[in-house]
Symmetry: C4
Subunit: 191 residues, 4 copies
């Protein structure tokens, strides 16, 4: 079974999720700079989510590069990941419209946590149909960054209810940590 349609479908869904978030930026009715002020928090939440989705697309791209085969279970693991990603526009809009208030920031973390678990499950379901010495297995390795991200989300979610801005800082930390592309896979291919 080929991985082409899996890639094409995931690209389509992620591309649409990213672009649909822009619809939350409501066009102001007045033509002054000050009319843009209420849009600012929605804009910042959009920037954050654009990075998150960009990272997922990037890592998904790297991951699928070294995949030799997929099966029905992988298709569902991928759909599961896309499900949580598809909730990002909702969580982003709620967080932006409420100026990064406690509950919306916590929900945003929950959605990111579940998406991260979804990615983890996708990687595991791929590993079960690849040899332990396959390029995929070598490239994924111990998945250090993936595990650290899960830990950060688990800290950030309860923290959001107390100090929302600190939770946001932790989300930014995750983004910064992943901005470097997944060198493991690029290195392994190069070898």
């Amino acid at each position: 079974m080929s991985r082409n349609r899996l890639e094409a479908f995931s690209d389509g869904v992620i591309a649409i999720i990213i672009t649909i978030m822009v619809l939350e930026l409501k066009v102001p009715h007045e033509a002054t700079w000050s009319a843009l002020v209420p849009v600012a928090p929605v804009f910042f939440s959009y920037v954050l989510s654009f990075f998150f989705l960009g990272i997922y697309w990037n890592n998904h791209h790297h991951l699928l590069q070294v995949v030799e085969r997929v099966n029905g279970r992988v298709l569902w693991a991928n759909l599961h990941l896309l499900f949580w990603l598809s909730l990002t526009p909702f969580a982003t809009g709620w967080m932006g419209e409420n100026h990064f208030a406690a509950y919306p920031v916590a929900l945003y973390g929950v959605v990111q946590l579940l998406a991260a678990i979804g990615y983890f499950i996708l990687a595991r379901s791929l590993l079960t149909i690849h040899a332990p010495d396959s390029v995929l297995a070598t490239a994924l390795g111990r998945d250090f960054k993936g595990k650290v991200s899960l830990g950060i989300y688990l800290v950030a979610i309860p923290l959001a209810l107390v100090k929302a801005w600190l939770a946001c800082a932790l989300y930014v930390l995750v983004v910064v940590m992943w901005l470097a592309p997944d060198r493991r896979i690029e290195k392994t291919i190069a070898q």
Copy 2:
């Protein structure tokens, strides 16, 4: 005539349908957990439809894998299927916003029934241009699950007007029945 664009176009439409449904999850204006309560039924209807569309994408993927050729009639059979799938966001939104009331649940079943018939027609139109001993014909076989699904919808639609929750349970049953990928095709390819 190649099947590539048929796949790409179907992937695009299904990806957009899935993602557009998220727009029905209206961002609440307040930042409390209780503000999420009215979103809950819309969310559950979204989850159900995500599964339905995921199943169609999955089965469509499996089906096209074993297709050797397509013709103009197949293109239209495919568009016919996509038409009914494209009504899913409307039926989903109506059902979710009205807390799974009788008529919306019945309409949801009608849309799913028509989509199932559309898939059936697509499979038949493919069979007419493949040999009886082709991989496609062997893989499709008697299409047991497809026929059972049609039967369940025919029961669920009138039932929805009497006991809407029972009809919903039947829809979930269809989802569970299909969650296992279409092993027929995977097995046939493996042989």
Copy 3:
């Protein structure tokens, strides 16, 4: 220069245009059959436009099949076609919401006329970079159906202002005429 991205981009745009039209079907707030009544004209206009866009996708698919090369001018001719197609949701929504009133029906015809001219220009710009005995030139032939369609639109647009339902009947006639896939191209390939 390859035609792959031209196909992929056109597929994407047409898929999104089709799916975005569904957003015009506003979910009713009440859960009765009668609540669906105001949606009916919007639904019929959606069905008509789904057919139109399906025909364009289908013919575009057939046309590109026999294309050997594209150039920058072809890319722009294709974008020009997509521009007029992208106005279909607006024209469809206006026509549906106003129950097929005179001006909206006329505007719908204008958009379809301009899209048909766009398709005509795309076909011509492809012919200029293919030999007169190429498969493309043979397949397109005298383009009888294309010219008849242009004629019907030119009659239907002024007619819409007098008898809107007659203009609608003419639009349906165009759809019926094109529903048969472009046999010219299939036949030419077969030879």
Copy 4:
């Protein structure tokens, strides 16, 4: 690492951005020609942005044609370009709804400037992984048009606050300048 998914993802995002802008054309509730008058400025801003995005897609297509390889940094440079392009619907809607007033026209220029810088960075990041005598390097050359465009934006943005229509004329000038496809690349390939 292959460039296929980079192309597919970019095509998807640009296709969705173009089509989402059509949603800003609000369907009028009345069925008269005069009801279309308030839509006119939104329509003109849509036409302008359709051209801008069409040019980006076209040049992106040409650019990727001569790319031999991509890396993680290129993926991010591409996402950076897509980010600014994704703000086009917002800037377009604000400009159209406010009848090309000073601040919206200036913001539109800022978004176009940042997108142009994004394209410039993408081209540079591709050059760093291609030989100085590669087709890509030869084709890009001194990038005269790219630099002139940046200059025009830098003039147009402050000008918008004084004479908005003059800034709009400059935007149209950029469009006209780019409408000719990037002959450099076509010529270089031909050689």
